[in-house]
Subunit: 242 residues, 2 copies
């Protein structure tokens, strides 16, 4: 069985959290966003699946992972599935719940990052909510970002194994997602990030640690990683960068 990942073409977005897990696990997957027929073919395939009247389990949104007969959506849910099947999460119940709890906190953080450029919601363009975005981004950088960064720094400190990973002795899908958060924040808010990162050395070291994983390094060098841009989750608008 080859997994099929359905996500919007041209952006990393939430699909990238899934791609990083698939790449680290080294499992083959078809990335519909990079369909040989181009972006419009990719969008048609994705919409056909989202609007498929025959599926008993319609998804509200992508990313969507097709795994044989299973159609799984919601980023954290897909990661929980991949974690269980590919050694990217502890196997016991307590470990699975703790891993998923951290991933859901990453998901909340990602929503707040999206809201820095879309405080009025996803239905209007950034250009039509720039004033509100400046206010929200300012509050995010001042209050919320330090709270999230500080939280994950604290969790890394408390990992009794001292592995430098967030849970126990081995890498989990949460480490991959935290790598992506740091990479995305550096793209979106370079000025602010360079100022605050020295306060969170363990989070920064985790980013470096993931960067050196052979499969991740190969993926980043492959040209298959879509560059960050102003259509994705992490957007660089200099006017929002503190």
């Amino acid at each position: 069985m080859t997994y099929e990942l359905y996500y919007w073409p041209g952006i990393q977005g939430r699909g990238e959290f899934i791609r990083l897990a698939l790449e680290e696990a080294g499992v083959p997957y078809l990335d519909v966003a990079k369909d040989a027929g181009g972006e419009s073919a990719a969008v048609r395939k994705l919409q056909a699946l989202l609007e498929d009247a025959k599926t008993p389990h319609p998804a509200f949104a992508v990313p969507l992972l097709k795994a044989g007969d299973l159609l799984i959506s919601q980023t954290a849910n897909i990661l929980m599935f991949l974690g269980a099947h590919h050694g990217l999460a502890p196997a016991d119940e307590a470990g699975r719940l703790w891993t998923h709890q951290l991933q859901l906190t990453v998901a909340d953080w990602a929503v707040e990052i999206h809201d820095t450029h879309h405080p009025l919601g996803p239905t209007e363009y950034y250009q039509d909510q720039k004033t509100e975005a400046r206010k929200r981004a300012g509050l995010f950088l001042k209050h919320r970002l330090p709270k999230f960064m500080g939280y994950f720094e604290r969790v890394l400190e408390k990992n009794p194994s001292g592995s430098g990973f967030i849970i126990g002795p081995a890498l989990t899908y949460v480490d991959l997602s935290l790598f992506q958060m740091v990479a995305g924040l550096r793209y979106a808010f370079p000025r602010n990030q360079s100022r605050i990162e020295p306060k969170y050395p363990k989070v920064v070291a985790l980013h470096e640690r993931v960067l050196k994983r052979p499969h991740i390094a190969a993926y980043l060098a492959s040209g298959r990683r879509i560059p960050f841009n102003e259509d994705g989750l992490f957007r660089h608008y200099p006017e929002l960068d503190g």
Copy 2:
């Protein structure tokens, strides 16, 4: 073992999704928000747990469920745990993932409802973001609410068992959460809700179905359910109601 639920006193908030599951399951639990020592004692207990330097698994936020040695946070994660242990979710992997996927979509919906009164984020009072809240609430009621309501109506239609519940033949924790969404929306946006509900008869019927569950009916009649109010997730500000 008696579960202990940690949540802010005085509001339903996200804690109410957990309370509904515990009530339906008929399991005993200690609700720290209703501590006999009053609200300040409840807040002290909650903060002591959140800030406990000894716990290896600190939570970012409440609700938090203490289940023996386990400390579980993130609403959807707690519900997944309760679902597995108290017959509130299918037992097979495909069913568990589908149930959780729907719950995470409810969680996304709840964030957007919170953002109608807090478009600039959780750090400022509503009174300091009223102008932005009117814009966001207007867009939410026009575009996003119909999308969420329509989605769950469609999922209810597609349930092959025709049970009137969202998944298969029996109630799951998602049904309880959808009940809460309808109840909350009716509180927050009564004018808009009375106008749109006829378009979503299955969602409305699900709310009625849950309302009649003996344990839920007993809970609602007990006086233990905290009334909706303007400190919670669902807030009635007439100026935001369409």
